[in-house]
């Protein structure tokens, strides 16, 4: 159990560093989402299931979706076709 916990914590740290260093905003959001997911597992291990449910629903679900919609609104997600057009 301790090893499992240590792996999860290590994953959290890696996620936090990767999110701040990743160049693409879309990647940052996906990393943030996996961070929330692991965090909710850790909440269960810390024996607070209330927080785990909230973290999974709000952190991994709704916040990510809101971030993605905002990215789409500010035209930060470039589609493949547009990228190819720009390269040509």
């Amino acid at each position: 159990m301790t090893i499992f916990f240590a792996i999860l914590l290590l994953f959290l740290i890696i996620c936090a560093i990767a999110a701040s260093f990743s160049k693409s905003l879309l990647n940052t959001i996906l990393i943030f989402m996996s961070y929330s997911l692991v965090m909710s597992v850790i909440w269960i291990l810390l024996e607070s299931p209330d927080l785990a449910i909230t973290e999974a629903a709000v952190g991994a679900g709704v916040t990510t979706v809101l971030f993605l919609v905002t990215l789409k609104k500010i035209h930060a997600i470039i589609r493949e076709e547009q990228k190819e057009e720009e390269n040509e």
Binding site: A52, I53, A57, V62, K73
Partner: protein, 320 residues
């Protein structure tokens, strides 16, 4: 009944002077001030050329790193100070953390008589098997009321900022809405059709069983909101607006917040005046137990679900 004053009489009244002060035509220090139009900005060719040359020269001299000693020294000092400041900040934070009480120690100041009281008397006083829910919706229900209002105000702000005011704009935006996404995606629609009912039922279960097990209004509301967002993504606005519009949200959250406030005012009133509350606590573990907590959970759940869904709608089809 209002009577009409003549021009001279009106000039003597307070409201006239206040109006003048508001318009800026009368200043307490300068006396009467006449408002003039701003003169248009005119620049002849010579000064314009001079100005452009000046700007160019300033730019060249500022970025000429080899001959500009000030910039060079500033850059060096900037780096040194940046490193020094980072080290200072990290040291301060580490010192602060090392002074915190050890994690999970029984003698920590957080483990005082308040927590003991919650654990020992919580079930007896609130009737909720889940102590956390008993705490946030009974002992500290006032905090939760504030939180629900914060959510409501946040939604109002998003509506004010992002809602398109003109009807033509709104219609044009709605027609344009799905250009970025595949229309009627079969995979998404099939998955949504299978997943939507379990998600909603799970959310309702979390809200209703908040006082019996882990869960409660906030998490259940978030789950329902996420389910609604999934449904909206799969089937578009035309289908969701059959049962959920901005007006529905307004009515629902107003009813929920009003119900919460009334229920809590009742329990505060009886508590402050030492009157026995008529709401029975019921047997712990039954679904209809723990007094007002079930009702409050439903209220919070409705507000949170509406907030999540409205946020998404406004982000998606709101203005820029």
């Amino acid at each position: 009944m209002s009577k009409k004053l003549t021009e001279e009489q009106y000039r003597k009244t307070f409201s006239f002077r206040f109006r003048q002060w508001l318009d800026g035509t009368k200043d307490p220090y300068l006396g009467e001030v006449e408002m003039k139009k701003q003169k248009p900005f005119v620049e002849d060719a010579q000064t314009a050329a001079h100005r452009i040359q000046d700007e160019k020269e300033v730019e060249e001299r500022a970025y000429d790193l080899e001959h500009n000693a000030e910039v060079r020294i500033f850059n060096r000092i900037y780096r040194v100070f940046a490193v020094a400041f980072c080290i200072f900040l990290v040291t301060m934070l580490l010192i602060g953390v090392s002074d915190l009480p050890t994690f999970g120690d029984a003698h920590n100041p957080a483990n005082n008589e308040v927590a003991e009281r919650y654990i020992e008397k919580g079930l007896e006083e609130t009737g909720a098997v889940n102590i956390v829910t008993g705490m946030i919706l009974d002992y500290r229900a006032f905090d939760t009321l504030g939180e629900s209002h914060v959510l409501f105000i946040a939604t109002c702000t998003v509506l004010i900022l992002l809602r398109l005011d003109r009807k033509e704009d709104r219609e044009a935006n709605e027609a344009d809405d799905r250009t970025h996404e595949p229309k009627n995606d079969v995979i998404l629609q099939t998955v949504a059709r299978i997943l939507f009912p379990p998600i909603i039922i799970f959310g309702i279960y979390i809200i209703l069983a908040g006082h019996l097990g882990p869960g409660g209004g906030f998490s259940g509301g978030a789950v329902i909101g996420a389910g609604l967002i999934l449904y909206l993504n799969a089937f578009g606005f035309a289908k969701t607006e059959k049962f959920f519009t901005a007006k529905t949200y307004k009515v629902m959250s107003f009813a929920a917040l009003a119900c919460y406030s009334l229920a809590k005012s009742y329990s505060f009133y009886t508590g402050a005046n030492h009157i026995e509350s008529v709401i029975p606590l019921g047997t712990p573990g039954a679904i209809l137990s723990s007094g007002l907590i079930l009702i409050l959970n439903i209220c919070v759940g409705v507000v949170v679900a509406g907030t999540m869904y409205t946020f998404y709608c406004m982000f998606r089809k709101g203005g820029h």
